[in-house]
Amino acid sequence: MRLTCPQCGERDRREFYYVGDAVALERPAPDAGDEAWEAYVHLRDNPAGETRDLWYHEAGCGAWLVVTRNTVTHAVLDVVLASDVKGGGA
C-alpha cells in the first residue's frame, strides 16, 4: 500500500505510522462522562468498506493525515492534512 502525502507526494506505507480511526480527532470534553470517553478511546465502527483513519508521516514531513480508504480492497481514496480537517493546531 502507498499513501499520497499532500506535502511529500506518493510514499511507501512504511514511512507512515498508523494511529487508528479518525475519531481520534474528536476528543470529548474532560467531563463528558464514561460513555463519551469509552466511545472515543475504545468503541469502533470497524467497517468492512470505506473508513477514515489517522496516520502520521513519521519518516517524512511529520504531518498528521486523515486517510479515507477501503478496508476490503485496500484502495486509498483520499489523503488530507489533519490540520485542514481539524481547523489548524492538530
Binding site: 500500500m1 511507501d12 506505507r13 512504511r14 498508523y18 494511529v19 487508528g20 480511526d21 464514561d34 460513555e35 469509552e38 466511545a39 478511546v41 475504545h42 468503541l43 469502533r44 465502527d45 470497524n46 467497517p47 468492512a48 473508513t51 483513519d53 478496508t71 476490503v72 480492497t73 485496500h74
Partner: protein, 418 residues
C-alpha cells in the same frame, strides 16, 4: 460412528468404504432454544459444550460459508498456557487441560502434539521478565522451565547463538505447549455437536438480529428467519458487523495477521519457537512444512491478504534467528482477520441491555489455543446466565470503567498497540 484402532484396521482392509459423513448438514428449523452465529472453532465448541455440559440440544450453529472456513482453518496452530495476568492465566490453563483430554472426549484425532514451546530472550531485562512469567505459570499450576543459553542449545542447536545483534541469552521452556491439527479441531467439535443433536447449518448468513423490548427473539438469515430464545455471536473478525445488527459498537478493530508455510521438509524443527527480538514464531507441521508467522500488518483491514513489508520483516527475523531456513522455499502465505481489542484480551459476556444476547470475541491473534475453554465458558454463560469462573474477568464493561483491563504486554489499552 466411533473411531478406534480396530475400525481403522477393518476399513483399511475393506477399501475404506464404510466411513460415513462426520456430521449432518442440517436445514434450519423455524425455532431453537439457542442459535450460535459463526461455525468456526469457538462457535462449534460453544455448541458442543452447550449440548455436552448443559443438555441443550435444540440449538443450531449458523455459518455463512462452510464450517471451519475462517481463522480456525488458517492459523499457526499453537497451543500453550503461558499467560501472565490473572484473568488470562486461569483461563488458558483451563483450556490446556481441556486440550489434554480433547481427543478422548471427542473420540477424534486432533493431532495434539505437546512438543514443547520455547520463548527465547535476548537481554538481562527480558530474562527477568520471563523468569517472572515462568513463576506466574508455575503458580497457576502449569509448567515452565527457565533455560540458560546452554540449555537452549541442547534443544535448538541450529539457532544462530553467536550473532552480535541479538545474542540468545536463554529461553522460557513450556513443555506442555505444542500444536494441534487446526481443521481437525473444527471437525471434531462439529461431529461431537452434531451427534448430540445440534443442527450445523452452512451457507446461512445472518442478516439481522430481532430484538423486541430489549429481549432477543431470533435472527434473520439468507435461509429465512429463525426464532431463538438465546443468541450467541461468535464471529471473530466480523464481530463489528454482527454487533451492528443489534445496534452495538464494540471495542474491536479488525486487522490482518499473516502466516506462511514452506514446502515439506524432513523433520528439522521439533519444538514451537518464538524469537524475542522481533515478531517471529515457527513450528513444523506433520506434513513437513515450516509454519511461521509474525506481527499484524498494523492497520484496520478485512482483506484476508497481507502487505509485502510485513512479509519482508518476518523473513528477516527468521533468517536472523535460524539462517538454515533460508534454503527452504515458501509455498504459500495467507492473512486472517483478527478481532483486536484495545487491551489485547478477549470478551465473553452478555450484550448489555439485550436479554438473551451474548458475545464471544476479541481473541486478537491468539484464538486457536482458546477454542476449548472459550466454548466451555461461552456455553456456561449462555446456559446459566453467569460467567464461568475462569472467564470471569472477560467483561465488556472494563473498557468503559477502566477497571479490570488486562494488558498482557503492558503497552497500554489503545487500539494500535496490540
Amino acid at each position: 460412528m466411533r473411531f478406534s484402532g480396530l475400525r481403522v484396521l477393518k476399513e483399511g482392509l475393506t477399501g475404506n468404504k464404510g466411513w460415513a459423513a462426520h456430521w449432518r448438514d442440517a436445514t434450519p428449523k423455524p425455532e431453537y432454544d439457542a442459535v450460535i452465529i459463526g461455525g468456526g472453532g469457538h462457535g462449534l465448541s460453544t455448541a458442543y459444550y452447550l449440548a455436552r455440559n448443559h443438555g441443550m440440544t435444540n440449538i443450531a450453529v449458523l455459518e455463512k460459508g462452510y464450517l471451519g472456513g475462517g481463522n480456525v482453518g488458517r492459523n499457526t496452530t499453537i497451543v500453550r498456557a503461558n499467560y501472565f495476568l490473572q484473568g488470562n492465566s486461569e483461563f488458558y490453563s483451563h483450556s490446556l487441560n481441556l486440550w489434554e483430554g480433547l481427543e478422548e472426549d471427542l473420540n477424534y484425532n486432533v493431532m495434539h502434539s505437546q512438543r514443547g514451546l520455547i520463548n527465547l530472550f535476548h537481554s538481562d531485562g527480558q530474562r527477568d521478565a520471563f523468569a517472572r512469567r515462568g513463576n506466574m505459570m508455575l503458580n497457576q499450576g502449569d509448567d515452565a522451565i527457565l533455560l540458560d543459553r546452554d540449555g537452549v542449545r541442547k534443544h535448538l542447536p541450529y539457532l544462530d547463538f553467536e550473532q552480535t545483534r541479538f545474542p540468545i541469552y536463554g529461553g522460557l521452556y513450556h513443555p506442555r505447549g505444542g500444536t494441534a491439527r487446526h481443521d481437525a479441531v473444527a471437525w471434531g467439535y462439529a461431529r461431537g455437536a452434531s451427534d448430540r443433536g445440534v443442527d450445523l447449518i452452512q451457507n446461512c448468513e445472518v442478516t439481522g438480529i430481532d430484538i423486541e423490548g430489549g429481549v432477543v427473539k431470533g435472527v434473520q438469515t439468507t435461509r429465512g428467519p429463525i426464532r431463538a430464545k438465546k443468541v450467541g455471536i461468535v464471529v471473530a473478525g466480523r464481530s463489528g458487523q454482527v454487533a451492528a445488527m443489534a445496534g452495538r459498537r464494540l471495542p474491536i478493530e479488525s486487522h490482518v495477521l499473516q502466516a506462511f508455510v514452506t514446502e515439506g521438509l524432513k523433520p528439522v524443527i521439533d519444538h514451537v519457537i518464538s524469537f524475542g527480538m522481533g515478531h517471529f514464531y515457527i513450528s513444523q507441521s506433520d506434513k513437513g512444512g515450516l509454519v511461521f508467522g509474525g506481527d499484524l500488518d498494523f492497520y484496520a483491514s478485512y482483506a484476508q491478504r497481507g502487505n509485502l513489508p510485513m512479509k519482508e520483516h518476518v523473513m528477516e527475523a527468521g533468517m536472523t534467528l535460524m539462517p538454515m531456513i533460508g534454503k527452504a522455499r515458501v509455498l504459500r502465505s495467507w492473512g486472517g482477520i483478527m478481532d483486536m481489542t484495545p487491551d489485547g484480551s478477549p470478551i465473553i459476556d452478555r450484550m448489555e441491555g439485550v436479554d438473551g444476547l451474548f458475545i464471544d470475541c476479541g481473541w486478537n491473534y491468539g484464538g486457536f489455543k482458546a477454542v476449548p475453554a472459550s466454548g466451555w465458558c461461552m456455553a456456561h454463560l449462555m446456559a446459566t446466565g453467569q460467567p464461568h469462573e475462569v472467564a470471569a474477568k472477560f467483561r465488556m464493561d472494563r473498557f468503559r470503567t477502566g477497571v479490570g483491563l488486562m494488558d498482557e504486554e503492558g503497552t497500554g489499552s489503545q487500539h494500535n498497540l496490540h
